[in-house]
């Protein structure tokens, strides 16, 4: 489009309704969620029960916590394939320590420590050694899976102190699950970080144009390192909550395939795999949508393996949506 036509269109609002609509993905998503909830509550009687809604939100938190981490990473056009396996691996290592010492505080801190450690390895490889994120995190994914299966021999780590699951898998007032509360608190904090701090603004600059960001005096190496560490922290928190809920830790709690849900949540929420775009609010909505899809398939008794087919198709559609959004912007 020529400069003149742009100016004629008022410059500020580019006068392209479709792009405005797609840009405001969050409003669309909210409407979609509400519509889906209405239809589902009529179609499936059990759906609207309080128990199921919180169950759905717990599922959303399992997807959403790592998705919040991935949002930071995806803004730089990076990726972290190791998020789910990092969660399982850290939970297993931490739970081993907890099982041996019967010390909940030490156990929880260990889980977080290992998760951050893997995040640091990812961050260092990408930011300092300039390795390709896809390959590095795939390697860490493999490494995580290896450690998980080696330590557990394919089973799971049990015999954890009773207070662990009482605290982290309990519910506030017997209604609101702790994991849902933690998810919300983390989402609020990370939203502030992304939207309102120097770090957040510098992260977006790095994602939009790394060379320009460097000219603007930004230490892009530091930014890149930090986001993978944030990914690790999110995997760690998720690991604590999930292990507490299962009252054990095993390799199956974070299969590599769980990454699909996570990246879908981000892209549905407006993050672009091309970098430069993303919001925490969008990612939270995206996680809820992904949880609804999973939940509905459970309630409808869809064959477990068939759910993978559905999710695979969802990813294709969502990624095409991302291409479409970028194409609208290009023209």
């Amino acid at each position: 489009m020529s400069e003149k036509m742009r100016e004629a269109a008022g410059g500020e609002k580019n006068g392209r309704p479709l792009s405005e609509l797609l840009k405001n993905g969050n409003t669309i998503m909210m409407l979609l969620i509400i519509a889906a909830l209405l239809i589902l509550s009529i179609a499936i009687p059990r759906f609207m029960s309080v128990g199921n809604i919180f169950n759905l939100l717990v599922q959303a938190s399992v997807i959403g916590l790592p998705a919040i981490g991935l949002t930071f990473i995806i803004i730089t056009a990076g990726i972290d394939l190791s998020l789910p396996t990092n969660m399982a691996c850290s939970a297993i290592l931490g739970c081993l320590i907890m099982q041996k010492t019967q010390n909940v505080v030490l156990g929880v801190l260990s889980i977080l420590f290992f998760a951050v450690l893997f995040g640091c390895i990812n961050g260092f490889s990408v930011a300092v050694l300039k390795m390709v994120p896809m390959i590095v995190t795939l390697a860490i994914q493999t490494l995580n899976t290896g450690i998980s299966n080696f330590c557990t021999q394919g089973t799971s780590i049990g015999g954890l102190p009773e207070s662990f699951s009482r605290i982290f898998a309990g519910s506030i007032g017997g209604v609101v699950p702790v994991s849902v509360l933690v998810f919300l608190v983390v989402a609020v904090i990370m939203h502030q970080v992304l939207a309102k701090t120097i770090f957040g603004r510098q992260l977006f600059q790095t994602g939009i144009n790394e060379r320009a960001a460097r000219v603007n005096g930004i230490n892009t190496t530091k930014i890149l390192f930090c986001i993978y560490v944030i990914g690790g922290v999110m995997a760690g928190i998720n690991g604590v909550l999930t292990a507490a809920r299962l009252n054990s830790a095993g390799p199956t709690m974070g299969p590599a395939s769980a990454f699909n849900n996570i990246v879908c949540a981000c892209v549905l929420g407006g993050a672009s795999v091309w970098g430069g775009k993303g919001s925490i609010l969008g990612t939270v909505f995206g996680s809820i949508v992904m949880a609804i899809i999973t939940n509905v398939m459970n309630l409808l008794n869809v064959d477990f393996f068939a759910t993978y087919v559905v999710k695979g198709l969802v990813i294709i559609v969502v990624c095409y949506l991302d291409v479409l959004r970028n194409r609208v912007k290009e023209n």
Binding site: N14, T197, I198, Q202, Q205, N209, R211, A212, V215
Partner: protein, 493 residues
């Protein structure tokens, strides 16, 4: 030679690009066993002419005759067919393949007989007097030897007319001498050679005939031995040398920045100078002389191999050595390529203006957005940025206004030293004058500015002093009254 000598005749060749007449009725004749030097400033039409011969662009009018036959060269493949070999400035090669594979690259298909391949390579390398191993991987060769491989490639595909496009730009002296020997050897064996360069001494040393191009025309042609340096210079820059607006001489006493022995590879190479309070210092040089590299090193983006920057921070301690981190915080740097690394196109005007200054807008844990927008409004007015509002996206502004926004983002931080690379490239005439005036005004208010520009008019309009770069080194310095085309050209060719 047993073969009859090749002849090349270029008749009335013109090339029109949208809005530019790059070549205008050019006539050139050359024959085998001759080295023709082609000189001209950037944009004179040298590369266009070579691209026509190499089959990269077709000519708009005129004809090319090889051995008396008219030929149509429509693709590099055609050029190869007619025996024209193009040796690029930066050798274009398959890094992970061997020398022999690269030499025979256009004939590599089906089953490859490696022994034959290596023998072919050996034959052509020998003809040039080169002892490069045909089995070596190209990525392991130094740049000078890659050039040799490129020449061998041109020879092996039957090249009789060889075009060298500024081949020595990134060479050491030894590599240059080696290349000259090879070119002379090829001449003895009957090749017709075109040698493009903007280094007068190289042309004088190597060539038999010299052709000077200016604004797409041949302006002077003659035997190299008979043509003087002065004649060439005069013709390169056009007729009589006009004195450009002198402006009044200003004197400076307070040194703000001292650069000492700044070196990074071959560009910049031991660059040292002083910059004063309120002074606009120009850096001039031809393409590839290391202007941008010097600015990047000063700003602290590329780590120098040696050298230091000293700064007077006005804390009474005088000049003090500063780190790249400090210079990145204290300086402003308008880059040469606006769209590449100058701004964030999808972001709005105010976001771009505050982007490098975020730390100064910190309010407790968060950012003060109100103050960011306030500053943007203020600087939009100050610099007369024509935009619907500060919320307009950068990509919908015109080039001139984008450039003003980029200037503004650095002015907001009140830079100690303002580095400006090509301040008015791709900017319309009106904005150009405004930006140049703005630089003058900044200097008069005390900001030290370092301006790189390829335009002599711009340099003489805004600068108080100019240093000239030639192959990464400072080759001279001119006061305001001495800034003139001729003097600058003398220092950089």
């Amino acid at each position: 030679m047993a073969e009859k000598t090749t002849t090349l005749e270029i008749r009335n060749i013109s090339k029109v690009f949208p809005g530019v007449r790059a070549l205008n009725q050019v006539n050139i004749q050359a024959k085998g066993g001759e080295i023709v030097g082609l000189i001209g400033v950037n944009g004179a039409g040298k590369s266009t002419l070579m691209n026509i011969l190499g089959g990269i662009h077709p000519q708009t009018e005129g004809e090319i005759l090889i051995d008396g036959q008219e030929v149509r060269i429509e693709s590099p493949k055609d050029a190869e067919k007619y025996g024209i070999g193009f040796i690029h400035q930066e050798p274009v090669m398959f890094q992970h393949m061997t020398v022999a594979e690269n030499i025979s690259i256009s004939r590599l298909h089906g089953k490859i007989n490696y022994r034959e391949l290596n023998e072919t390579a050996r034959k052509y390398l020998d003809r040039m007097g080169c002892d490069i191993n045909p089995r070596a991987k190209v990525r392991d060769l130094p740049i000078g030897e890659r050039q040799m491989v490129e020449i061998a490639r041109a020879l092996s595909s039957g090249g009789k007319i060889l075009l060298f496009d500024e081949p020595t730009a990134s060479f050491t002296d030894a590599e240059k001498n080696r290349l000259f020997e090879v070119i002379r050897e090829l001449k003895r064996k009957g090749s017709c050679i075109f040698f493009i360069s903007h280094f007068l001494d190289e042309v004088a040393e190597l060539t038999d005939r010299t052709i000077v191009l200016r604004d797409g025309r041949v302006v002077i042609e003659g035997n190299t031995a008979e043509i003087t340096r002065e004649q060439i210079l005069q013709n390169m820059i056009g007729g009589k040398v006009a004195e450009v607006t002198a402006g009044k001489e200003r004197s400076f006493d307070q040194v703000v920045m001292k650069v000492e022995g700044l070196t990074r590879g071959s560009k910049p190479d031991r660059v040292s100078f002083k910059l004063h309070r309120g002074e606009v210092l120009g850096i001039w040089g031809l393409m590839g002389s290391g202007r941008t590299e010097t600015l990047r090193a000063i700003y602290g983006l590329d780590k120098p191999d040696a050298g230091s920057i000293y700064l007077d921070l006005e804390d009474g301690r005088g000049l003090r050595r500063v780190t790249p981190k400090e210079t990145r915080e204290l300086f402003g740097y308008v880059t040469e390529a606006r769209h590449d690394d100058g701004c964030l196109l999808p972001w709005s005007v105010w976001e771009n203006m505050s982007a490098p200054n975020l730390p100064s807008y910190k309010k407790k844990l968060f950012l003060d957005y109100g103050r960011q927008r306030q500053d943007s409004e203020e600087y939009c007015k100050k610099l007369n940025v024509k935009t619907a509002s500060i919320y307009t996206r950068m990509e919908s502004l015109s080039g001139g206004n984008q450039q003003k926004v980029i200037m503004a983002k650095w002015l907001i931080r009140r830079p100690k030293v303002f580095l400006i690379d090509e301040p008015t490239r791709g900017v319309d005439v009106g904005a150009k004058a405004e930006i140049q005036k703005m630089i003058r005004k900044l200097a008069e208010e005390g900001t030290a500015c370092l301006v790189v520009s390829s335009e002599i008019e711009e340099i003489s309009a805004v600068c108080d002093r100019v240093i000239v770069l030639n192959r990464g080194r400072i080759s001279g310095e001119l006061k305001k009254s001495e800034i003139a085309k001729e003097a600058l050209m003398h220092l950089c060719v």
